[in-house]
Amino acid sequence: MRVLVIEDDGPLRGALCQGLEEASFAVDTSADGEEGLWYARSNEYDAIVLDLMLPRIDGLTILGRLRREGSAVPILILTARDTVADRVKGLDLGADDYLVKPFAFAELLARVRALVRRGYNNKDPVLRVGDLEIDTAGRTVRRGDAAIDLSAREYALLEFLVARAGQVVSRTAIWEHIYDFHSDPESNVVDVHIGHLRKKIERPGRPKLIHTRRGQGYLLGRCE
C-alpha cells in the first residue's frame, strides 16, 4: 500500500517515512504544500498523512482542493493544533481522521492501516481468500495451518492483491501501490516479486491463488 506524507518538519518526516516503510508501506514524502498537492494529484495513494501548517499551500487548502476534485483518498490530518474547532474544521473539510502531535507512532500506524482498510471497504483487519489468511495488524500470513514468512515487499504485494481479490490488477496498478516515487518503473521487479510470492503461498494439491491474465495483469482468488 502506498502512502503520501506531507510534513514540513524534517526529522518528523524522516521518522514517519522510515516507520511506514518498515511497516511495508511504499512512502512518498513532501516538505511543502505545493509539491505535496502535486504528488497527491499524480498518484493513486492508499492514504495521505497531511500536516496542516505547510509552506506555500496549507494542509486545509490541499484537503479542500483534493475533495473538490473528487479524490476519495483517505486523509489523516497531523497537526499541533488541538482545539475542538480545529478538529471539526479539518473533519468537515473531508479529512477521515485527525491525530495531534506529538503522537505514539504505533497509533499513527494503526490509524493509517484502518484508513487503508476503509479505502478497500474492509472492516476486518484479517483478510481471507480461500484458506489464505492475512492479519494486516500483525502482518502475519497463513495458508491453512502453516505460517508463511514473507519479505516486506512480498507482504505489501500480497496485501494489495488480497485487498482486491477477485479483480484483475494491472502491473501499473501494482506498481503504483507497492513502489514509491523513486523506484525504477522500467524493471520487471513486479513479475519477479510475483514469482517469489507464488513460490511461498502456492501449495501442491491446493487451489492455485495467483493467476496471470496475459496482457492485463494478475488476479488473486478463485479463477472463474
Partner: protein, 478 residues
C-alpha cells in the same frame, strides 16, 4: 479623622458636625437675643417703678416726705415673693424701708432717674433678684416757697429690689426648649443625611461590585457607565481603559503560551517518532546511532528555542543585564561573520562589504553579537543559491546605520512587517532545509535586543526580492 475609613462615615460625620454647629450657634444667638430682651423688659419695668415712686417723694422744708403707703403697694409687704425698697438721704440716713425688709438692708445704688443703676444680687431673703437704684432731688412744696426762706435741696437715694424668678424660669424653659430642639434637629438631620449619603454613594457600591465580579476569565466585560453620576464617569472610563490593556496583555500572554506549546509539539513529535521507530525492532548499532544523532539534533534545536524564549522573556521583564562599551562595529561584524562564511561559500553566495576603516558605537558586545548572528544566519539561509549578501555600515552625524541585505526573498511586501512577530515564519523559513527547524523567534529577539541597546531595527523588501535589515545605533562619542 484617620479612624473614619469609609467615605460614607466621613461624609456623614462631616455633614452632621456642620449641621450641629450651625444649629447650636443659631440656638445660642437666639437665646442671647431673647435673654437680652427679657432682661431689658425686666429692667425697664423696675426702672419705671423706681421713677414713679421717686415722684411720690417730697421735700418739705428740711423734711422728706414719702407720699406712698404700703396699703396701695401690697407687693412690699412681707410674703414669699415680696419686693423691697429702701430710701436713704445723701448722708446715708435711712429714710424708709419696705416692711418686707424688716430690719435688713439693701445695698445702696446710685443711678440717675434717666439712667438708673442696676445690679443682679441675691435679695435679703436669699432669692435671686435684681435691684435698681436712683439718686434724685425730691419734689418741693412750692406753695410754701414764697414766704419761707429758700430750702437747701436734699438728695435722696431710692433702691428697689425684685425677685427674678419668673424671668429666670422663662429663660430656663427657653434653654431647655432650644437644647431639646437642637438635639432633635441634629438627630433628625443625621438620619436624613445618612439616608442621603447612602443613596448618593450607591453608584460607587455598584461600580465596586462590578469590579469585584471581574476575574481573569471575564476580562472582556466592561463597566457600564449607564446613569452613574458625573464624578464616577472618569473613573469608569479609566477602569475600562485599564481593563482593555489588561485584556490585551492577557491575550498576548495566552497567545505566546499557546504558540510555545504549539511550537514544541512538532519537534517533540519528531523526537518521539524517531525514537519509537528506532525502537520498533532490533537494529544494528549504526541505525541506532543515526536515530540518536537525529534526536540530539532535535534536542539542540529545542534548546535554542528555549534559550531564545528565555532571553525574550528576560527582555520583556526588563531583566537583561547590559554593559555599555565602545565597540568597533566593523571588527564585530567581521568577527560574527566568520561562522557563516562556510555556509556562504557552500551556497555560492556573493558577499559584498561596504565598511569604513572603523566605526565605534556604544553597546553591549555580547548582545550585539547575538543580534548580528541571527541576522547573518537568516541572510545566509534565505538568500537564493548563487545569490548575494551585502553588509554595509554608513555613519552620519551621531548615528550609525548597519544594512544587511540578501537576494532571493519570497516575503511579500505586505508581510514584511510581521518578520519581527514571535513565531511568525515565512514559507521560506518553513521549507528551509539543512539548518534545522526555524521557530520564528530570531528576529523577534533581535528587535527586543536592539531596542534594549537603544537602537532601532526595521525590515523591508525591494521589488527585486532583496530583503533588507536596517539597524540604527548611536555613535560612540569620540
Amino acid at each position: 479623622m484617620r479612624i473614619v475609613k469609609t467615605l460614607r462615615a466621613r461624609l456623614l460625620l462631616g455633614t452632621a458636625l456642620g449641621t450641629g454647629f450651625v444649629l447650636t450657634a443659631s440656638a445660642l444667638v437666639l437665646y442671647m437675643i431673647v435673654r437680652a430682651a427679657l432682661w431689658a423688659e425686666f429692667d425697664e419695668a423696675l426702672g419705671s417703678k423706681a421713677r414713679s415712686l421717686a415722684t411720690l417723694v417730697e421735700q418739705e422744708r428740711d423734711e422728706i416726705d414719702l407720699e406712698f403707703g404700703e396699703h396701695s403697694l401690697p407687693e412690699f409687704k412681707p410674703s414669699g415673693h415680696a419686693e423691697y425698697y429702701q430710701v436713704w438721704t445723701s448722708g446715708g440716713h435711712v429714710l424708709a424701708r419696705s416692711s418686707s425688709l424688716g430690719d435688713r438692708d439693701l445695698d445702696p445704688l446710685h443711678g440717675r432717674p434717666d439712667k438708673p443703676a442696676y445690679k443682679t444680687t441675691p435679695l435679703p431673703d436669699g432669692r435671686p433678684g435684681r435691684t435698681v437704684g436712683i439718686t434724685f432731688a425730691p419734689r418741693r412744696e412750692e406753695d410754701n416757697a414764697s414766704w419761707q426762706t429758700p430750702q437747701e435741696p436734699i438728695e435722696v437715694t431710692l433702691v428697689i429690689g425684685r425677685g427674678t424668678f419668673e424671668t429666670d424660669q422663662a429663660l430656663g424653659r427657653l434653654r431647655l426648649l432650644l437644647v431639646c430642639g437642637c438635639a432633635g434637629a441634629i438627630l433628625a438631620s443625621v438620619a436624613v443625611l445618612s439616608w442621603l449619603v447612602r443613596r448618593g454613594l450607591k453608584p460607587l457600591g455598584y461600580v465596586a461590585a462590578e469590579i469585584a465580579a471581574i476575574g481573569e476569565a471575564s476580562l472582556s466585560s466592561r463597566l457600564e457607565p449607564g446613569d452613574a453620576p458625573g464624578e464616577l464617569a472618569p473613573i469608569i472610563t479609566r477602569l475600562n481603559a485599564l481593563l482593555n490593556r489588561l485584556e490585551s496583555a492577557f491575550a498576548r500572554e495566552k497567545a505566546i503560551t499557546a504558540d510555545v506549546a504549539h511550537e514544541l509539539r512538532t519537534p517533540l513529535a519528531g523526537l518521539r517518532a524517531t525514537l519509537e521507530v528506532s525502537l520498533s525492532k532490533e537494529r544494528g548499532a549504526t541505525s541506532y546511532r543515526e536515530a540518536m544523532a537525529k534526536s540530539l539534533a532535535i534536542c539542540k534545536q529545542m534548546q535554542r528555542m528555549a534559550e531564545n524564549l528565555l532571553e525574550l522573556a528576560r527582555a520583556d521583564a526588563g531583566q537583561l543585564e547590559v554593559t555599555s562599551d565602545a565597540v568597533d562595529l566593523v571588527a564585530l561584524l567581521t568577527d560574527c561573520w566568520t561562522q557563516f562564511a562556510d555556509r556562504a561559500t557552500e551556497r555560492q553566495l556573493e558577499v559584498a562589504w561596504h565598511l569604513p576603516e572603523s566605526c565605534h558605537i556604544t553597546t553591549d558586545r555580547t548582545k550585539a553579537c547575538l543580534v548580528l548572528n541571527n541576522i547573518f544566519d537568516n541572510a545566509t539561509t534565505y538568500a537564493n543559491t548563487g545569490g548575494h549578501v551585502t553588509i554595509a555600515v554608513h555613519s552620519e552625524n551621531n548615528r550609525v546605520n548597519v544594512r544587511v541585505a540578501n537576494s532571493g526573498s519570497c516575503i511579500a511586501e505586505a508581510e514584511v512587517g510581521r518578520v519581527f512577530d514571535r513565531f511568525w515564519r515565512g514559507d521560506a523559513a518553513r521549507a528551509a532545509k539543512g539548518n534545522g527547524r526555524r521557530y520564528g523567534l530570531g528576529l523577534a529577539l533581535c528587535r527586543k535586543l536592539v531596542t534594549f541597546l537603544g537602537g532601532s531595527i526595521s525590515a523591508s523588501v525591494d521589488s527585486d526580492g532583496t530583503f533588507v535589515i536596517l539597524m540604527v545605533f548611536g555613535r560612540h562619542p569620540t
